[in-house]
Symmetry: C2
Subunit: 208 residues, 2 copies
DNA sequence: CCATAAAATTAACGGTGTTATGTTATATCA
DNA sequence: TGATATAACATAACACCGTTAATTTTATGG
């Protein structure tokens, strides 16, 4: 009897259709323009059917973002494995992060620019996954310090600040589209250079 | 006689009441929890009356944010006038910026973490005002370069990157409230130190 | 063929921003 | 003073939204 398997497969198929339809709306128009009714119309099902496959809209969007965030994680892992020099690794990772954000602005917004409400404690897998980028950063910083190429008294704080730095550029470029920015690649290059130079120059106790 | 003045005054009074009621909701619960109906209930008027005083919700929120953003601008001006040393001025300005954002998270979100839709071209005075922070930064950087204390080939890009850096920390701290952050003041101190150290260390053409 | 379970739909609730249409109070002028 | 114009405010309604409950349709196993 393969009937159960078939049903499970059909279930997954429709689930996939929902995600596909939602993704199309989401990447083009952003999370606010995704509505259960619009998704339903695209797949030609009733709006409430979606609730048989996803707990609510937040979970649906979370699924979409998690998939995309996975790309960032894999890219960072790839860089990690292919770049032995920790400083260069950090450099490449930072650039890859910003480029990722600019390539997937709507996913980036959900993962890094909105807070999950306290009631949906379990949710936010995409957000959790996004924060994983920090793990890559931390390990690189640790190695830099171990090799004596950076002088920071607090590795954790340094890693968090690297994250803050690249997130700052990413999010501003996403949100302030009409602002007269300097050339993007120059901006990114300079930001990475400056921050890393700062980390390599700094003394632990500057004034004594 | 004087009836017109009185009416204008009463008009302004009600306008003020609307703003006050809206602000209370806004600062406590955020922009999404502000609704015309809730404001109306608080001031004991019908929801649609608000539209006689504000074009729409966006304009109302914009008003609230603009007021608050003014505080940031004045603070930065104050620092500018009271801190002759441009490096120290930059330092203080950056710290003041982050502290402002953490003190007024909802206003900060509207001004710096959301994009205005293209249809509301005129609106977004708060956002425009917020971007004014960059002007303070730019002038300080310019002076640093003029005094030979920083070596950057592009002042505009450097200023924009300073903005990006502090915005990054500010916005992440606002949004990722449950994240295990290092000590805030240490984070901020280190971020400012690192970036400024990078700007002071850097050579214009590093590799040649 | 029928009972059962699964899947999908319809109806409805309470909420949103906003517009068009009424109503009421106030000020001006004959 | 009383009619009229006008400004201020309210009611009703539109088109959405996310979500839940109740209901119907569809497919399965006996």
């Amino acid at each position: 009897m393969g009937v159960q398997e078939r049903r499970a497969r059909e279930r997954q198929e429709l689930r996939g259709e929902i995600l596909e339809a939602a993704r199309e709306l989401f990447v083009r128009e952003g999370v606010d323009q995704v509505s259960m009714r619009r998704i339903a119309e695209k797949i030609e099902y009733s709006p409430t059917t979606i609730y048989l496959y996803f707990k609510d809209k937040a979970e649906l969007i979370d699924c979409l973002c998690e998939e995309t965030l996975g790309k960032l994680d894999r890219r960072l892992t790839q860089i990690e494995n292919s770049t032995p020099d920790p400083v260069e690794r950090l450099r490449r990772g930072m650039k890859a992060y910003v480029e990722f954000g600019l390539k997937h602005p709507n996913e980036y917004k959900v993962a890094f620019m909105t807070e999950l409400k306290p009631d949906e404690l379990a949710g936010g897998r995409a957000k959790a996954m996004g924060q994983n980028a920090l793990n890559h950063t931390r390990s690189s910083v640790k190695q830099c310090v171990a090799e004596g190429r950076m002088h920071v008294d607090d590795v954790e704080a340094a890693a968090q600040n690297i994250w803050a730095t690249i997130h700052g550029l990413t999010s501003l470029l996403i949100v302030k589209t009409t602002f007269p920015w300097a050339d993007r690649s120059k901006l990114l290059e300079q930001l990475v250079d400056t921050h890393i130079a700062g980390l390599m120059a700094e003394r632990t106790v500057p004034a004594l």
